[in-house]
């Protein structure tokens, strides 16, 4: 009899593995909190926060559960606070990189970084299969560029795997602005412009076997040509939520069942949550696991974010980032997901079938037509 799991990686984690991961997380939490809340190493923002809060996280936080003493992180702080306020004293003399997230108009949210994006993608590289993402082959980065860390991170990923990375210009803020104004024709024209750039590169440069892009651009590229025919063997995708049907369609039809489709969930604040291998055996459902202990994802009760929902239930996604460069406790993401049990590959909670928070709420329609 076959095991009822899509792959060995999908097997539930053993109790011992879960306990070991939790222990490792608690130790990491103690180290990171101590780092950010100690005068010798901490950042001005968090040191001042602790003074006002009248408790000392460096001493009182013993493990991950103690982070519930922090309120949900207000992401406006990343827009309003000067970036210098987030710099740990230990890094005070090192110029930092600034990466942005989202944004259409006004001041965007920013975070400082030195090595985090490189570490995240080096770790992610270890999860890629060489037969689909061949070493020493080139990549095409057909995703958002500009002030996003993806621009550098994908190039780093290509480089550490022995290849180079081709790029194109893609400003998602322009697309958002077009859609916001109801200018769908302009948004469509911009998508065509992006796809033109991508296909031109693929047709004129050899040895590009790996692609990073978003689901929409991937679909649009494949409406013009066979990506497999142009040599693509693996696609690493991120950027928007994907239903199981979309994942199946991209795998079976867009990539013709020949190239591997690797969905990820991530952003500038988290790093990269990896998925277990997707397949029909698992109903094409995508479960992501945070790059723990550097980041932790919880699925929480939307009405009381201190409470986890039960395994198998839907809730809002909460992110905690825990690196020496950046500490961000309990940010409520604008996504909801189903909580999944720890697995053999990732012995901590997963988040499945991520979709925009509130996606299931309805609207009232007036009129008869």
């Amino acid at each position: 009899m076959n095991a009822p799991y899509a792959s060995p990686a999908h097997r539930p984690a053993s109790a011992a593995a879960v306990a070991a991961a939790a222990k490792k997380l608690d130790a990491h939490v103690r180290a990171i909190v101590s780092w950010h809340f100690s005068p010798a190493t901490g950042s001005p923002f968090w040191l001042e926060w602790a003074r006002k809060a009248r408790w000392n996280p460096a001493k009182e936080v013993k493990g991950f559960k103690d982070l519930l003493r922090f309120p949900n992180f207000a992401d406006d702080l990343l827009r309003d606070e000067p970036n210098e306020r987030w710099v740990p004293k230990a890094y005070a003399k090192r110029p930092y990189m600034i990466f942005e997230t989202g944004g259409t108009t006004g001041m965007p949210k920013q975070r400082v970084s030195w090595q985090d994006h490189l570490i995240d993608y080096s770790e992610f590289s270890l999860t890629l299969e060489d037969r689909y993402f061949p070493k020493n082959s080139h990549w095409l980065m057909a995703g958002p560029t500009g002030p996003r860390r993806l621009r550098l991170a994908i190039e780093h990923l290509a480089n550490i795997r022995g290849g180079s990375c081709y790029h194109l210009d893609l400003d998602p803020r322009w697309v958002k602005r077009c859609l916001g104004k109801g200018d769908y024709a302009q948004a469509e024209a911009y998508k065509e412009h992006v796809v033109d750039q991508a296909i031109t590169i693929l047709r004129n440069r050899k040895n590009i076997h790996c692609l990073f892009t978003t689901p929409k651009i991937l679909e649009a590229m494949a409406e013009r040509t066979s990506l497999v025919g142009l040599g693509i063997k693996g696609v690493f995708c991120g950027g928007t939520s994907m239903t199981p049907q979309v994942v199946r369609f991209l795998s079976e039809e867009v990539l013709e069942g020949k190239a591997q489709f690797v969905p990820t969930y991530g952003n500038t604040l988290m790093g990269l949550a990896c998925s277990l291998p997707v397949s029909a055996n698992d109903g094409w459902s995508v479960t992501y696991h945070a790059p723990q202990p550097r980041a932790v994802l919880r699925v929480v009760n939307p009405d009381d974010a201190t409470q986890d929902v039960a395994v198998g239930a839907w809730g809002r996604v909460e992110l905690t980032t825990l690196t020496k460069e950046f500490f961000m406790p309990r940010l409520l993401e604008r996504d909801e997901a189903m909580r999944k049990q720890p697995t053999a590959r990732y012995p901590w909670d997963g988040v499945a079938d991520v979709r925009p928070f509130g996606a299931q709420s309805g609207k009232i329609i007036e009129g008869v037509y």
């Binding site: 109801g182 049907q245 039809e253 867009v254 009232i364 329609i365 007036e366 008869v368 037509y369």
Partner: protein, 470 residues
């Protein structure tokens, strides 16, 4: 019958999606927008297959499909289940809320279009010899004519209000244009049964695609199809205003206007008015939502309210049932709350509330109903003066006859009850009226040789000049 899963149809071939949505009685596959776009890249092949079938044969296929639709057993679901006509009535009633009697009524309208496709096309094409469509050219009244298809596909974004609207897209098959249908959430049954009836009658599968999908999928369909019919509220249709590829079917804001010459006989018109407001459960865009009179407004509104108070919730299988329930009770509650809210604005009175002993919102046999509501408004500027809801609702306004045409706004159907020749000429000249009924005729009355809204032949074909060497 075992649990039904209604699959998508990709060129007529069942496709079970991983994503599903529940409607009463079935799980329905939901396809993603990219899948629709990808399929539509190949739709020209389906059009070519349909083009090769003589029109005469297509008419025969439609006729046979009409019989299958009306009384046959056709496949439903993807597990080998079959659906009888009675199954269809029960299932559609359960998911849409229409009583069985109205579903059967709508079924008859759809079957009529299939059975009488020759006559329908005669109306749409103004008597064109259909062999012209087979050959691309021919003669009409001794003059050479040529028509060409403007599109390889007709996309149709359907509502759930009433099955009858499906009759509008069916002629596309006989006009050699494949269809890609996005069903309304609560009525996957009707377009699926029509498609299966056509397939059973010999229509090429490739001509019939059925894509239950999200709003995003609907937009993908509208962007990819050569021509489309879009049923939806203003929030959806406004994106396509001015797009010549898309024929919009938004709220109708249909009206009855009574002329000064006929108003003294208003008591004799109550049945016409009641039928205009409440036929088909008040669920059609051709139902009147406003009645405008030059005098006796309040009295007429009160009498109409009393007449419509006789229309009460009944069991779904009661042959007398005319009122439709709401599959989604929240929608009924929201509409009810919206009307109550606007009644707080001075200048309007709910005369139905005085005419019946029960509240507008009512539960009956576990289903939620909104009972007919007639509101007399003192001014055309009142919030309730020009509204349209998914149940028998109408406002009654009083204004001088010579102001009516400047106040009605865009109206899908106007029934103008007048013998005033000069005013009739003004009504005929009005660009605001899509369909004009002259005389004491309900707005809901349809002659199929007078296309309901738009003309599908004109949407799908264009005439070209043609000259040949003798």
């Amino acid at each position: 019958m075992s649990a039904i899963h209604i699959p998508a149809l990709r060129f007529g071939v069942p496709y079970r999606s991983v994503d599903t949505l529940s409607t009463t009685g079935a799980q329905v596959s939901q396809v993603n927008s990219g899948l629709i776009r990808r399929d539509m890249l190949r739709i020209a092949d389906a059009a070519a297959e349909l083009q090769d079938i003589p029109s005469k044969r297509l008419l025969a296929i439609c006729h046979d499909a009409g019989e299958f639709f009306l009384s046959g057993r056709v496949p439903v679901g993807d597990a080998g289940q079959e659906q009888t006509a009675d199954d269809y009535v029960r299932q559609t009633s359960a998911s849409c809320g229409l009583p069985h009697a109205l579903v059967r009524n709508n079924m008859g309208k759809i079957a009529h279009v299939l059975l009488e496709m020759g006559a329908i096309l005669k109306g749409l094409t103004r008597g064109l010899d259909l062999s012209v469509l087979d050959a691309g050219m021919g003669e009409q009244q001794g003059v050479p004519v040529s028509f060409y298809r403007t599109a390889d596909s007709l996309g149709v974004v359907l509502p759930s209000n009433s099955p009858g609207v499906n009759s509008l897209w069916i002629p596309a098959i006989a006009l050699k244009v494949p269809v890609a249908l996005k069903p309304g959430r609560d009525d996957p049954w009707t377009p699926y049964r029509i498609a299966q009836s056509l397939i059973a009658a010999g229509c090429p599968r490739s001509a019939l695609s059925f894509y239950p999908t999200s709003h995003e999928g609907a937009h993908a369909l509208l962007a990819a199809a050569g021509r489309s019919l879009l049923f939806g509220d203003a929030s959806i249709t406004k994106r396509y205003a001015g797009d010549p590829r898309v024929e919009l079917h938004g709220p109708g804001y249909s009206k009855v206007l009574i002329g000064a010459d006929r108003i003294e006989g208003w008591r004799d018109l109550i049945e016409v008015l009641a039928s205009s407001v409440a036929a088909n459960g008040g669920r059609s865009c051709i139902n009147a939502s406003t009645i405008i009179v030059p005098a006796h407004g309040r009295e007429l509104a009160a009498a109409l309210a009393r007449r419509l108070a006789e229309v009460i919730p009944r069991d779904a299988d009661d042959p007398q049932a005319v009122l439709a329930g709401f599959a989604n009770p929240v929608m009924a509650e929201s509409i009810n709350a919206a009307i109550d809210h606007d009644l707080e604005e001075p200048g309007a009175i709910d005369l139905s509330a005085q005419a019946r002993a029960t509240p507008r919102l009512l539960q009956h046999q576990g289903r939620t109903f909104l009972q007919p509501t007639v509101v007399f408004c003192q001014s055309s500027g009142h919030a309730l003066a020009n509204r349209e809801f998914l149940f028998p609702y109408c406002s009654v306004l009083e204004m001088p006859q010579d102001e009516m045409l400047s106040r009605i706004g865009p109206s899908l159907v106007v029934s103008a009850i007048t013998d005033d020749h000069a005013w009739r000429r003004e009504l005929l000249a009005s660009p605001l009226i899509h369909r004009l009924n002259l005389g004491a005729m309900p707005t809901s009355h349809v002659h199929w040789d007078q296309p309901h809204e738009g003309n599908l032949f004109e949407v799908l074909y264009r005439r070209r000049a043609v000259q040949t060497v003798a």
